[in-house]
Amino acid sequence: MAFESGILEQGLGAADEAALHRNEPPPGWLLEAIGAHRVRAVLAPLAVLVVVLVGWQSLCESGAVSPLILPSPLAIAEAFIKDGPNLLAAATVTTIEALTGFVLGNILGFVLAVAFLYSELSRRTVYPLAMAAQAVPIVAVTPALILWFGNGMAPKIFVTMFLVFFPMLVNALRGLRNADTEVMELLYTLSATPLQQLRMVRMPASVPFVFNALKISACACFVAAIVAEWVAADRGIGYLIVLYGSQYRMPQVWAAVLIGTAISMAVYGLVVFAEARVAPWLNRRKRPISD
């Protein structure tokens, strides 16, 4: 068997060992492997999807589950068609809330991580507080938030931000500390400023962690916004879920859920794309040939 490092990025899928160890020079196998597993990366989940959908549809048609609980895929599709514009308008609102919270929360988390890295005092005092803040069941305080911020987008953005900043803080802090000792010593003897250390070593070293945090929140930010809307809103996907849910319009509920899911997957995809652009060395095998 060939040597296979198993270093593969999420979303791509592991390539065949056979495809990896070949008599060809690296780009050959790389292209081929990507080609091969691109196909598989599409076909395999598609197959699973088809099986799931067919099973789901027949389950619903058999009458074994109440339509008030689980609508059939076809009914959901129909709801999409019937209720499309409404869903899209709601999705726009939620997306704005989720993304604003996403951006603000991640900036806050990263900035805090950097501050904690350089200021012992800030870490000792603010980190426990950040943890405690994160520990507050934010959804339980949403009514209070609505008192403070009104019931527009602001409280939803706040909740989203609140749930997003912590994964970034923890991951970024770990990542920024993940810099190789030898490399840090090098920069140190070069008398690099903290900012240079940050830019040249710590940030690159933190990239895998930071992107993981972004991926975690790319999905979570929509869930957060929806849950916040669900407490009190008059627009957005969360609102539609509650309203339709209270009327047992399950196909519409699921259509709203799925549109939220689809958008957060798109954001996730964007993060993966950005990662490939920002940190090409992560998706490249460390030694192209040897693996």
């Binding site: 899928g13 395999a44 000792r124 934010i138 959804v139 500390r177 993981n212």
Partner: protein
Amino acid sequence: MSSITVPDLAADAAGGSEPGTGPAGIPWGLVLPPVLFVVALVALWAVLSAAGLIPRYILPAPGAVLNEFTRNYAVLARHAAYTSGEAVAGFIIGNAAAVLMAIVFSYSGLLKAAFYPFALISRAIPIVAFTPLLVIVLGRGLPPVIAVVAIAVYFPAFLNMMRGLASADVDYHEMLHTLSASRWQRLKMVDLPASMPYLFAALKVSASVAFICAIVAEWIGANVGLGYLVVISGQYFKLPTLWAAIIVAAVLTLLLLALVVLAERALRRWTAAPGEI
């Protein structure tokens, strides 16, 4: 490590500088600042409340909340016990499943290709939509709440483990390769140890949301637990109870978080080299 001058290097490697421990072995450096901070915060809260700057319907005075703790501790403890059980069980189940799944995916390209997208999607679906289904399938009470927590919690560990299992230096892989190590040996000897920083970063994230998720889930489908207590005391406008429940939840979250941090330290002490990992 006092001889190291490169600032923070040793601490960095260890994942955080460990503040000095006092003579009694209590890490005062770690304990004191947050304690002082909390004390200051409570004092501020008390002063503002007394001055009437925080309306009672937003946040009751600390005295009222404190009174709630002394008067109503049995009720709080009962609900807290439920929520803790759910949160911890969900935390363990979710993270164990995540680690297992990441390992399976790192072994099988086909399984990964087939199910990876769904692992992602499952996180993107609002839990709210799941809950009626879970309540119907699992019945009311602990099981659906544990399921919600597990589902909500597994994702950070899953993502980070996918990354962590692939993070080991190629040199290590090459070495094990020439030793003709099995995949399992490679996992045990290289990939798992190398993925620990990733795992613990994820565990900290998920420890901090486990209770929140349990509370949201209770809100939807339970009649015990702190989430329920929050709802019902909100409904009956018993704000001291509500805030006492919130504080208990926060403290429990911090305890879980502290447990994760301690576990990480212990693991580092047993296995990790200074200046590495």
